[in-house]
């Protein structure tokens, strides 16, 4: 939700750039090799409405450019095609169109590959190779297409190479930042950026005021493409730690750290995450990953990119299933721990950080709507959701790893569809369910099971907070179900 708005905003600004007299950006004709590598991608997307989990929101379209990666595959950003109902490819040279489907999509890395069912459609196009040889100060070219299909390129100066936030707030990967005066054109949502006829990056965000580009970097693209060759797709791993700097000399002295040690203080270790499984503990000081020394700010020296966050080592340089050695100092002693890296998928969280491309689960019982808590639900409160959404739920989301060490979901009463059965309950909403009919509720599946066993003919629903317990007449609820469905035009009373 938030990233959508950010993008909508940046396009609005782009429009104003066109209206205002601006120095014409430096645009150049595109070398012939690149002409045959890009294709227009038009995607009609429809996201789920988490406040009315039984319906989708209005469809909207996004238009961007995709890059031919091998003879069959088109690479785009995940954002371009997330929650897509229909994807269309359009050849720049002929204007010919074909449908496409998503092959592999990674919302964290913000990348997806598309394929066309028509093998001839992409014939004659040239796949682009990737290059990771990008340095601060390099001149790259952002590719765009004129309305008539003529390719144009705009020069972009690489200003920094760093780990930064991708489309989702929790995922940070290597990012190329560039300075570039870009004109708004159709299909500008996703744009390839090339260096010497090789794909170097994908435009992810553009700020027209500062004329800066945040781009998905080629090491991330390469990682994605390597993983995308395997089924099932394993994604990007995470070490499962949170760390903070150890610059403070008092802290270093207290922890008996030598100045030459460097290192970061590990303040959080995900339960059952890769680091936890290898025995990394909160309070350890991480001084090296493999043969890379960790400095007190959590950076290491990368041969091409210079100082980089160590996050890059465990998310992008390494693949799921690989092992890295973490050297930690614990109570003044060095320990080497062998960490097998793997990914933590959104589903593995108690409160899913994102729910894209799949419908929200819900269960309506006698007009009471129950859902599993997701951040997508909280985001429905708009850009200010951290402040405006129900505070308890926002707190649960933010501190979920501290608060809920066990594997579970948070089932909660989201709202009431007023009906005969809900008289007196109209004001209840956003209440976390602890038990239904005496059964502990750790998922909506538990809930559906517990519905089968009312107590003495009543469903007893227990909440974590006031009013703590309410009741429904089980027989009455069953009898009223069809009417409820009809009154509120619900396609179904549950989706599990």
């Amino acid at each position: 939700m938030r990233s959508l708005l950010a993008i909508a905003l940046s396009f609005a600004l782009l429009h104003s750039v066109i209206a205002a007299p601006e120095p014409t950006p430096k645009e150049e004709p595109v070398p012939p090799e690149q002409k045959g590598s890009v294709v227009r991608v038009n995607s009609t997307n429809q996201s789920y409405d988490f406040l009315r989990p039984w319906s989708k929101e209005a469809p909207f379209s996004r238009r961007g450019l995709g890059v031919l990666i091998d003879s069959r595959k088109i690479l785009v950003t995940a954002e371009l095609v997330e929650n897509s109902d229909y994807i269309e490819l359009e050849r720049a040279d002929s204007g010919e169109k074909s449908v496409a489907t998503v092959q592999v999509i990674d919302y964290e890395a913000n990348l997806a590959t598309l394929s066309s069912p028509d093998p001839k459609f992409l014939e004659g196009m040239q796949p682009l190779q990737t290059t990771t040889d990008v340095k601060t100060g390099d001149d790259l070219s952002v590719l765009q297409l004129e309305t008539n299909g003529t390719p144009v390129s705009t020069r972009a100066l690489v200003t920094s190479v760093e780990v930064g936030k991708y489309a989702l707030e929790d995922s940070g990967y290597l990012m190329f930042r560039m300075s570039c005066p870009l004109q708004f054109r159709e299909n500008s949502f996703t744009l390839p950026i090339v260096k010497e006829n090789r794909l170097a990056a994908f435009l992810m965000r553009y700020d027209s005021r500062s004329q800066t580009v945040d781009a998905i970097s080629s090491p991330v693209i390469e990682h994605f493409l390597v993983e995308a060759q395997h089924q099932p797709y394993k994604g990007f791993p995470r070490a499962g730690i949170g760390f903070s700097p150890t610059r403070d000399p008092q802290l270093r002295k207290y922890m008996k750290l030598q100045d030459s040690d460097g290192g970061v203080y590990i303040n959080q270790v995900d339960q059952n995450g890769p680091a936890a499984k290898a025995g990394v503990k909160q309070g350890d000081v991480l001084v090296a990953i493999g043969d890379k020394q960790v400095d007190p700010d959590g950076n290491y020296l990368h041969p091409i990119y210079g100082k980089l966050s160590i996050t890059h080592l465990t998310t992008t340089e390494a693949y799921c299933g690989q092992h890295v050695t973490m050297t930690v100092i614990r109570n003044g002693e060095r320990k080497q721990l062998n960490v097998e890296l793997f990914r933590r998928s959104s589903e593995d969280y108690v409160i899913e950080p994102y729910t894209i491309g799949k419908p929200p689960r819900f269960y309506i019982l006698g007009g009471l709507v129950f859902q599993e808590l997701t951040r997508q639900y909280l985001r429905e409160w708009g850009t200010n959701w951290l402040k405006d959404a129900p505070q308890r739920l926002v707190y649960y989301d933010r501190f979920q790893s501290d608060l809920f060490p066990e594997k579970r979901k948070i089932v909660f009463l989201t709202q009431i569809l007023p009906a005969q059965d809900t008289v007196g309950y109209e004001q209840l909403n956003n209440l976390v369910v602890t038990k239904l009919n005496g059964r502990e509720i750790l998922s909506l599946d538990d809930f559906a099971e517990a519905v089968k066993n009312p107590i003495d003919g009543y469903h007893k629903i227990e909440f974590e907070e006031d009013p703590h317990e309410i009741y429904l007449d089980a027989k009455q609820v069953e009898e009223d179900a069809a009417q409820l469905e009809k009154t509120y035009s619900l396609p179904a009373l549950q989706r599990l």
């Binding site: 403070d248 959080q268 790893s401 009013p467 009741y471 009455q476």
Partner: protein, 488 residues
């Protein structure tokens, strides 16, 4: 005195023609109060605070006393009172103050003040639509002003002075403006209320509120012991039993009676007597309707009003429905301290401990209002302090509220607004614990915070070296003030 009122000063000349009703010469009873106050500065807690001068009204009651609003004299350093027709200004002191009901009683040091004054008597709750007169010294002039209006509504209202307490309040359509506060609202020669709060003109017009006599009488009775104990509370929440299925499931008949106890505060009056799930059927033999109302003196009022009129140590009797049988229980009443975290605090300096340039303060309403904190954990600890019983582990939530930058704390700035959990081996439950922990001699002070947050480490020698430098640079003349915590 606009400080704690919703009232915003707007300069409209009120119908300020002194129209004195027959039989009472209000000039013999009305008092103009000028209070010089110092408002605590929670952001710079060692500072004495900024000075304000406010004008309010009061009136003479029996026993040579003056009744006014608590907010007129809160945080006061010096008070003078004046009478109509007397040029002299008399110094006065606060004898009793009830911040929970926004009332205060003043004593005048010079007994001569009360010569030629006439104490006012109290009436009952005026009926809706009946006319009243409001006296005071509102903006628009310096002399006594009277406005007239009728009673619009009688209801429970939040008293904005404490911001947490709700009591009976009476709404009138007479203009009530800054300076009216503490003045009497009269009907038939008797006081029927004390004007105390209203809305600014851009929110609502002609909406003023007075404290009705049940609240005033309760205050006067409470202080007759020589000490103000304040309001007592059942310290429960309850749920209206309007749903037929719920009533049946609990085994209750369809007689529209009873509410369900949904939570019982651990530190409140009812913890030993009531439990979640009990259904309250009667309170002191008044049947409780399923919407929580009772009949009292011919009026339908909310159940807590019965308790409102009681005092510390009094009891209240309930017939309850527990485990499908009727029982009678008695609750002995007292206050509930955890609630006070969300109440405005007056009359004492902000509590804090300063160590190594780090300022530690307990979480409170004043704190939240001053710092405008948006930190999610801190907001949760504040908003859910009572409901989630956070006070069990943290009777006071101690926050690293500020950092006075110095080499000793140069790398700690990201820890601002974290909640202190432990210092060295000591669990931190109150501000006194913080002061004690830093008073212990130790080479290092390791401050652990709540949640997955790195600790802060201070080396004693470094703190000692920094001490004079910090105190000097930031003009700090007091390193801690820990007295007067709310909790035990």
């Amino acid at each position: 005195m606009t400080r704690s009122l919703v009232l915003v000063a707007f300069f409209i000349v009120t119908n300020a023609v002194a129209q004195i009703p027959k039989g009472v010469d209000i000039r013999k009873s009305l008092v103009r109060i000028t209070a010089t106050s110092q408002e605590q500065d929670y952001k710079v807690p060692w500072n004495p605070g900024s000075m304000t001068v406010g004008v309010g009204a009061g009136f003479v009651i029996d026993g040579n006393r003056i009744l006014t609003n608590a907010h007129v004299v809160s945080n006061s350093r010096f008070i003078v009172v004046e009478k109509e027709d007397d040029p002299e200004r008399y110094p006065a002191v606060v004898q009793f103050v009830g911040h929970d009901c926004d009332l205060a009683v003043l004593r005048v040091l010079d007994k001569g003040f009360f010569q030629n004054t006439r104490p006012l008597g109290f009436g009952g709750i005026p009926t809706i639509e009946s006319p009243v007169s409001v006296y005071g010294y509102p903006i628009g002039g310096d002399r006594l002003s009277v406005t007239r209006g009728i009673i619009s509504r009688i209801d429970f209202q939040t008293y904005t002075h404490s911001a947490i307490d709700s009591h009976l309040a009476v709404q009138l359509d007479a203009a009530i403006n800054p300076g009216n506060s503490g003045g009497p609202v009269m009907q038939d020669g008797k006081v029927v209320g004390v004007a105390f709060q209203g809305y600014s003109g851009d929110v609502a017009q002609n909406v003023g509120y007075m404290i009705p006599t049940p609240v005033i009488r309760r205050f006067l009775k409470d202080i007759s012991s020589g000490h103000y104990d304040g309001y007592v509370d059942l310290s429960i929440t309850y749920f209206k039993l309007l749903n037929p299925a719920e009533r049946h499931a609990l085994g209750l008949p369809d007689n529209e009676q009873g509410v369900m106890v949904s939570s019982v505060s651990s530190e409140g009056s009812s913890i030993a007597t009531l439990r979640q799930g009990d259904v309250l059927l009667t309170i002191d033999d008044h049947p409780i309707a399923s919407d929580g109302f009772v009949q009292l003196d011919g009026e339908r009022i909310e159940m807590p009003e019965i308790v409102e009129r009681k005092f510390k140590g009094d009891t209240v009797k309930f017939n309850i429905w527990r485990d499908k049988t009727k029982q009678t229980v008695e609750v002995r009443l007292k206050g509930n301290w955890p609630y006070l975290i969300q109440a405005n605090h007056y009359d004492s300096p902000p509590r804090f401990v300063l160590f190594g340039g780090l300022v530690f303060q307990p979480l409170s309403k004043n704190f939240i209002d001053s710092y405008q904190v948006e930190d999610l954990r801190l907001r949760y600890y504040y908003d859910f302090f009572v409901t989630d019983e956070i006070y069990k582990d943290h009777p006071e939530v101690i926050v690293l509220s500020n950092i006075l930058p110095d080499p000793v704390n140069a790398y700690l700035s990201d820890l601002r607004f974290q909640i202190v959990d432990q210092i060295n081996d000591k669990k931190i439950r109150t501000l006194e614990d913080v002061a004690d922990a830093f008073a212990q001699k130790s080479t290092y002070y390791v401050i652990h915070f709540v949640g997955s947050v790195r600790p802060a480490v201070l080396e004693r020698s470094a703190v000692e070296q920094a001490r004079d430098r910090i105190l000097g640079n930031y003009d700090v003349h007091k390193e801690q003030y820990v007295e007067g915590g709310q909790s035990r």
